[in-house]
């Protein structure tokens, strides 16, 4: 027993020894030296599944035809979370890919990782960042600098089943705009026996974040972590948060809310006609239209009365350049990123997926082409985001270890709408957990 104790003490002591001097010196700014020719192999780990994989592969192929000295190797690496996890593991193993896709919640974490080269440092003026669609640029910029290249940007909106609205005697052209109307319309549809539920959400924790921005409320302190200080507290247990969850709980009790999991699981029952409305990412638009045998309608997110008008937050992912490669390869990666953001590519990407085009001119091109007249549904998300406020609260939060916070909030929402716990109590304890995550995070980066 004494031996074991002694060993423990030795072990702890040796750990302390190792621990000293592990803080690495922060990087200097990087720039590609003059006269470097872009060349080499650029590995690109992304999370674009299904038909999107082929689209990304297509971009790589086209680019390589134009630049024979560069090889782009796009690798589908699983879900967003899996891609980020793999990327970070590769960074730890000192074999990082050149380009890594990270979803929006990874932004602060990637920024603090010390493993990235911010794109504004790669840019020597050949690309004008103002060409990027404004709300997207705002979301991914920190202190006015763009650190990663936005690629697939989306936001949340409402999808609804027009056939079901018609059958219930509701006007299919005037979808609900408030929470009360959502409940009211749902009940009409359910009473008519057209569906077993009224509404469901994809990514519920994200919808809660959206709702804060949409009502112009901060989700975290230090102005959503955007005033130069990292966010150290979440504000989700305020009046608005409690009000939203109370409402959702009531919906769940009335059978109006049909809980549909944490990601895209709610899409299938919506397509199958089990409920009439769905709050989901705009990136599902093309897929939902294709798979539904009813007329799909799109609308702005519903809101609560008594709050200022904010905006829906940009979601989706951006592409980061990772350190640890030659100047030639970095230049090649930067070349490829610029190519992806070109107008024509952005237009094509939007048409095939429903994601926002990152290029500002792409919107005008789409209007000129008559794309939106052809299908107005692709325009809803634009209208929502371009008509909204551009305040900091509406830009969305930057949080350290946001991935974990979203997981905690996701579980909290399930406690409220599935296990019927008291919203205020759950949100208060959620805040404590999230604040712990933030303070742990800050202690490792500062």
């Amino acid at each position: 027993m004494k031996k074991v104790l002694l060993m423990c003490i030795l072990l702890v002591a040796s750990c302390m020894l190792f621990a000293t001097g592990t803080k690495e010196v922060e990087e200097k700014t990087y720039s590609i030296p003059e006269n470097v020719k872009a060349a080499g192999t650029v590995t690109f780990w992304h999370a674009m599944s299904g038909s999107k994989t082929a689209i990304v592969d297509g971009y790589a192929k086209e680019f390589m035809e134009m630049h024979p000295e560069i090889t782009i190797e796009p690798v589908y690496s699983g879900s967003y979370a899996e891609t980020v996890t793999k990327g970070l593991a590769a960074i730890k193993a000192r074999k990082p890919p050149v380009l890594l896709m990270s979803y929006e919640v990874g932004t602060q974490t990637m920024l603090d990782s010390g493993a990235i080269i911010p794109v504004y440092q790669l840019n020597k003026g050949e690309f004008n960042f103002d060409e990027i669609t404004e709300p997207i640029l705002k979301y991914y910029s920190v202190n006015g600098n763009l650190n990663s290249m936005p690629f697939n940007s989306s936001t949340a909106m409402m999808y609804y089943n027009k056939d079901m609205f018609r059958a219930a005697g509701l006007d299919p052209e005037s979808p609900p705009t408030t929470f009360d109307e959502v409940a009211e319309y749902s009940k009409i549809i359910m009473d008519a026996g057209l569906a077993s539920g009224g509404i469901s959400f994809g990514w519920p924790a994200w919808i809660l974040e959206q709702m804060h921005a949409y009502h112009n409320k901060f989700y975290a302190n230090n102005e959503n972590g955007r005033n130069g200080e990292r966010a150290s507290e979440v504000l989700l247990n305020g009046k608005l948060g409690v009000e939203i969850l109370t409402e959702w709980q009531q919906w769940a009790k009335d059978g109006v809310l049909s809980y549909g999991g944490r990601t895209y699981k709610a899409n299938d029952p919506f397509i199958a006609g089990e409920f009439s409305m769905l709050l989901q990412s705009t990136s599902s638009l093309a897929g939902i239209i294709k798979s539904s045998d009813f007329e799909v309608g799109t609308a702005f997110l519903p809101s609560l009365p008594g709050y200022e008008k904010g905006n829906s937050v940009i979601g989706g992912a951006s592409i980061w350049v990772l350190k640890g490669h030659s100047d030639e390869v970095n230049a090649a990666a930067w070349e490829f990123l610029q190519y992806l953001a070109e107008k024509d590519n952005a237009v094509a990407w939007h048409k095939k997926t429903g994601y926002f085009p990152v290029n500002k001119d792409a919107y005008n091109t789409l209007v000129d082409e008559g794309w939106f007249e052809n299908d107005m549904r692709f325009r809803t998300a634009f209208d929502q985001i371009l008509n909204g406020s551009d305040s900091t609260a509406a830009t969305g939060a930057l949080l350290g270890n946001f991935v974990q916070i979203r997981d905690i909030v996701g579980a909290a929402i399930e406690e409220v709408v599935v296990n019927m716990q008291d919203p205020k109590t759950i949100l208060d304890s959620t805040k404590v957990k999230c604040d712990q995550v933030l303070s742990d995070y800050i202690s490792t980066v500062e």
Binding site: L11, V12, C15, M16, F18, A19, T22, K23, E24, A81, T85, L88, I91, K92, T109, D112, S113, G114, A115, Y259, G260, G261, R262, K265, P269, A272, E274, N401, V403, Q404, D407, A411, E414, E415, V418, N419, V437, D440, S443, T444, V445
Partner: protein, 295 residues
């Protein structure tokens, strides 16, 4: 001609080395690393380490979520092991009566074991799908239960337990069958002559004689139930709804690989290591006293 085997001092070490090397690379070194990291808080890329002493462990045991997960895992394991073994022994006893299709049954029974946990999850999620599942429809039409594992915590837990038991059923049955076939016919015949009822024969003769098999299966099933549910959970519930099916292994995954809390997750893996050591130690000790291995 007879060759004499000259033993050198190094030969035993040489012969042992492959397994020792494997154990070192895949078990000792990673465990050591986990132990090391469990005293730290790391940043996301592991480039910064802050020594926090036993904070991770203290936090672990003051985290109600972890305690809940621990209790849930223990309950889950007890149910899966007890129910699983009882059902398998029952089926094995029936299958042991030499019937015409004995060999076919035996082959069919092992099938579930050949499936990966993820596939098991997929199959059961289809059968128990709240809307289109065969079983959930039967449950609704016959008993009026609307089974929904996505929105009902109890249902989710029942789902996981049933799927986990089913997955291990084939394995258990095969071992029980071979155990049952080892029971000497003479003993049973003697008991019949003495007038022992079938139930009595089962309790007094069969059960003690197959105790080595049972003991082996208890260990295997406990380890299975406690540590190998990741695939199933990941495919079916992802620990939800809420944290209703959040077993220790899944919590470890979430904290370590989704939330990237390397130190906190390492501390959890050390606790798991202690638990598995404890289980094995305890079972071997009691086994010596209780299990009948024959002469």
């Amino acid at each position: 001609m007879q060759t004499t085997f000259k033993s050198s001092k190094w030969l035993p070490y040489l012969l042992l080395s492959p397994s020792v090397i494997i154990v070192f690379i895949f078990f000792i070194i990673p465990s050591g690393e986990s132990l090391f990291y469990s005293f730290f808080r790391l940043n996301i890329t592991g480039t910064r380490k802050i020594f926090v002493g036993f904070t991770n462990f203290v936090r672990l045991f003051s985290d109600p979520e972890y305690i809940d997960s621990l209790i849930r895992s223990v309950l889950f394991t007890v149910i899966v092991v007890c129910l699983g073994l009882a059902i398998s022994l029952g089926i094995a006893t029936v299958a042991n009566n030499k019937s015409k299709f004995f060999n076919i049954y035996r082959t069919l029974l092992i099938w579930p074991y050949a499936l990966s946990p993820a596939i098991t999850g997929m199959i059961w999620s289809l059968m128990l799908n709240p809307k289109i599942g065969v079983i959930s429809n039967l449950l609704y039409n016959i008993f009026g239960i609307s089974f929904n594992y996505m929105t009902n915590s109890t249902h989710a837990m029942v789902f996981i337990i049933v799927a986990a038991i089913w997955k291990m059923l084939g394995y258990n049955i095969i071992f029980f069958l071979s155990g049952l076939q080892m029971v000497p016919k003479e003993l049973i015949e003697a008991a019949i002559i003495d007038g022992a009822s079938p139930w009595k024969r089962f309790i007094k003769i069969t059960i003690p004689l197959i105790s080595p098999t049972t003991f082996f299966l208890i260990i295997m099933n406990t380890l299975y139930a406690f540590f190998q549910q990741f695939g199933l959970l990941h495919v079916v519930t992802e620990g939800g709804p809420g944290r209703a099916t959040d077993l220790l292994v899944y919590k470890l995954y979430r904290d370590g690989f989704i939330s990237m809390n390397t130190g906190y997750a390492s501390a959890q893996s050390i606790i798991l290591l202690l638990i598995v050591t404890g289980i094995t130690f305890f079972q071997f000790r009691t086994a010596k006293k209780r299990v009948f291995y024959g002469n």
